[in-house]
């Protein structure tokens, strides 16, 4: 058995592994990074960019950052990185604004309950979904009393609301209120009744034609002219109404796109079954139209959520508004980058998870139409 060369009958040799260049990571790199001269140059350029940006950013962001200094100058003496101390020290303020400290558990509770209320709406497979759904319907009332007080809880003025709490409050209420309004506007725009149609078109085009910021200005300066003399209602409520109207007009256009994509046969079939307008829309047309328009609807919601930052311009204290007052403090002057990046991370996490959820929902509702 000293002979190393084995002999095989034709066709019995076991398969050899593929050559090194066409398997594993080498093959992957050849195909995806160095497939041509241009691609090689691009890859090297990209790698160089990453080499330039990422280590420097990491140094600034975490390695050289200071978390527990008492002031800006102390930060800068200790290290050259980010001064996160400002966020640590003012964290509570960025979260709750000027909501009374001893009552903040109510905000926390409302926030936790929000997830309980959202669970049955967002996901199918929640245990006890039917009972939770009832909770989802009463949740807005509970949240209202938790945040504003009343019913035995100490009342809190909405002028004291602020920080991320305000962002979530405006964002979530805007989303909940604008969807039904958007559907109604979309149906109105497609209605056969000419008066309704014209009114809806005018409303939608007006709202879509002007920037949100001008609508907010109207809410803060002009609305008092339009209401009976002496009436004065909450600025936060006015903002909520404007944000809702704004989002509803955009939603209406998205949903209209979905309605237009439904083949005429669906309407005719429903009518020939003797369904009334509302039954036809509610049972046949809208479920299909909404399914098609999910990506657009979620995009509008993300836009609304981001637009909540504009309330700072009319003086509400959302995180951006609070950051202005923090930056005016001589101890923390000039740390705008740190605060803004912290706020950006918060928005990125919420908006990115919303867009992920929309992809999940699209896949779930695709029930075999995808090939």
């Amino acid at each position: 058995m000293t002979d190393t060369t084995e002999t095989f009958a034709p066709g019995t040799h076991p398969d050899l592994p593929p050559p090194l260049g066409s398997r594993g990571i080498v093959k992957w790199m050849r195909e995806n990074l160095f497939s041509s001269a241009t691609n090689t140059v691009l890859t090297l350029l990209g790698a160089y960019l990453i080499y330039l940006a990422v280590p420097a950013f990491l140094d600034w962001f975490i390695l050289d950052a200071v978390f527990d200094a008492g002031s800006r100058n102390e930060c800068w003496e200790r290290a050259g990185g980010a001064c996160w101390s400002v966020v640590v020290v003012r964290f509570d303020q960025l979260m709750y604004g000027f909501y009374p400290e001893e009552l903040r558990w109510r905000v926390d509770l409302a926030f936790l309950l929000l997830f309980v209320a959202l669970a049955p709406v967002l996901f199918d497979k929640v245990p006890g979904r039917r009972y939770l759904a009832i909770f989802s319907i009463v949740y807005p009332v509970i949240a209202f009393f938790l945040l504003w007080g009343g019913m035995g809880l100490e009342p809190v003025e909405s002028a004291k609301f602020g920080g991320f709490m305000l962002t979530v409050l405006i964002g979530v209420s805007g989303i909940i209120a604008s969807l039904p309004l958007g559907i109604v506007l979309a149906l109105g725009r497609r209605s056969e009744l000419i008066v309704l149609r014209v009114v809806c078109i005018c409303f939608i085009e007006f709202i879509r034609g002007v920037p949100l910021i001008t609508l907010l200005f109207i809410a803060s300066t002009l609305l008092n002219y339009f209401l009976p003399p002496g009436s004065n209602f909450d600025l936060l409520l006015r903002v909520l109404i404007m944000v809702t109207l704004f989002a509803a007009a955009y939603l209406a256009e998205v949903i209209r796109g979905g309605l237009q994509a439904i083949p005429k046969g669906q309407f005719e079939a429903a009518m020939s079954m003797g369904m009334s307008y509302w039954k036809m829309m509610g049972l046949i047309v809208l479920p299909q139209a909404m399914k098609i328009s999910i990506p657009g609807i979620v995009n509008t919601f993300i836009g609304l959520y981001k637009d909540t930052t504009l309330v700072v311009i009319i003086g509400l204290l959302d995180p951006l508004g609070l950051s202005q007052s923090i930056l005016a403090d001589s101890k923390w002057q000039g740390l705008s980058t740190e605060i803004y990046i912290f706020i950006a991370i918060f928005f990125f996490l919420s908006c990115f998870s919303m867009s992920r959820y929309s992809i999940y929902l699209e896949n779930k509702l695709h029930r075999g139409h995808k090939r």
């Binding site: 007006f206 001008t214 981001k306 803004y340 990125f348 990115f352």
Partner: protein
């Protein structure tokens, strides 16, 4: 066998609601009545409120002097100019930042959109990160972030950064050389126009030759060459009539040249980077919407890849890309109203901001601002609808 007697159109009052045809009319009349009642309510309240407050109304204040300064003006303006002129200055500033933003966002967006589809894994991942990070962060935050970077992170004018000779970056803005034209400069302009006309003419000639003989001229490089070479040649022949005014440090700031304010820089960067991420997704979707069979068919006809892109893919993709692209341009224009957050004097900040606060004419000022934006967006969307109808796929 008795014939059923025709009863005649007997109209009962409840038909107004139970009969489909009558109901349509009654609903509309009710809606109209409700609308008018609502409008009357608002108008009535407004009149009452105005008379209670004793506020004067009318647009006469537009002719009065504005008494405030604007730091970036394209036309002549000082604090003695009228409110109306201030509004025009603001409108022009909106236009400048919108056009600059649209150009930058288009270039960046198309580049990123194409690169995201590249087969290069690393590059497409980098672009994916860029898109996700910019479009999931509020625009206002990005504007403030860029403003903070320009104002706090750039050095004072004394030690300004000078990336290229004559261009200074400092916390007072970007100072760049300004072109100063002498009278003879019109020759260059005429040369430029002639060059464009010649390039178009050559393109048509080349097309005719190609259709007749199949011979292909390098139209793009010759055309671009004409457009570049001819004006440059005229520039030297006419004795260099355009000179540059270089910025120089004098005292605490730069004098001479052209200064781009930090507000403009922040707004322009943020608007273009934010909108570009949306445009890149539109471009990607547009290119992906052209079925792969088109590429394969072009290749099998022997058309080379760059021509396939230009002659087969792009014309089909553009039909999908254009409508959402234009609506992004509109969004950018409307978003430029966030300028007020950093104090860039656009139309909202001038007539809707300082003028409003000085005169107290909230109704008038806001109506001007609203009318401005409505006009812009209605005009653009009308043009867009017309164009859309023209290029829409005719299905047979």
């Amino acid at each position: 066998m008795s014939a059923i007697e025709y009863q005649g159109p007997s109209f009962k009052l409840e038909d107004l609601w139970t009969d489909r045809r009558w109901r349509a009319i009654s609903i509309q009349i009710l809606a109209l009545a409700g609308l008018f009642a609502f409008l009357a309510f608002i108008v009535n309240n407004t009149i009452n409120n105005l008379s209670l407050l004793g506020v004067e109304t009318g647009y006469g204040f537009l002719a009065e002097p504005s008494n405030y300064d604007i730091n970036q003006t394209l036309i002549e303006y000082d604090s003695r100019s009228s409110h109306f002129r201030a509004a025009i200055v603001g409108l022009l500033n909106t236009g400048v930042v919108a056009i600059a933003g649209i150009i930058a966002a288009t270039i960046l967006g198309f580049t990123v959109g194409v690169l995201r589809l590249s087969g290069n894994w690393l590059i497409s991942r980098i672009m994916y990160c860029y898109v996700e990070f910019t479009r999931n962060v509020p625009l206002l935050l990005q504007i403030l972030l860029w403003y903070g970077i320009v104002v706090h992170s750039l050095p004072r004018p004394k030690n300004a950064l000078e990336p290229l000779s004559g261009i200074f970056l400092s916390n007072r803005g970007f100072s760049v050389p300004a072109p100063v034209a002498e009278p003879a400069a019109w020759a260059i302009f005429i040369a430029f126009v002639i060059a464009i006309a010649a390039a178009i003419g050559f393109g048509q000639y080349a097309k005719r030759v190609q259709e007749a003989t199949g011979k292909i001229y390098p139209v793009i490089s010759i055309g671009l060459g004409l457009i570049v070479v001819l004006p440059v040649l005229t520039y030297f022949l006419s004795g260099q009539p355009i000179s540059l005014d270089w910025p120089a440090l004098r005292g605490f700031n730069f004098a001479g040249g052209m200064t781009v304010t930090p507000e403009f820089v922040a707004l322009w960067f943020a608007l273009s980077i934010y909108t570009a991420s949306f445009i890149s997704e539109i471009v990607r979707a547009g290119i992906q919407s052209v079925s792969h069979g088109q590429t394969e068919a072009a290749y099998s006809l022997g058309i080379k890849p760059s021509w396939t892109m230009r002659l087969v893919i792009l014309p089909q993709a553009l039909r999908v890309i254009l409508p959402p692209l234009i609506s992004q341009y509109l969004n950018l224009t409307k978003n430029s109203s966030l300028a007020i957050a950093v104090g860039y004097m656009d139309v909202v900040a001038t007539i809707g901001g300082i003028s409003l606060n000085q005169t107290g004419r909230a109704l008038e000022c806001m109506s001007i601002v609203l009318a401005t934006y409505l006009t812009i967006s209605l005009v653009i969307s009308t043009i867009m609808n017309w164009y859309n109808k023209r290029v829409a796929l005719v299905e047979r």
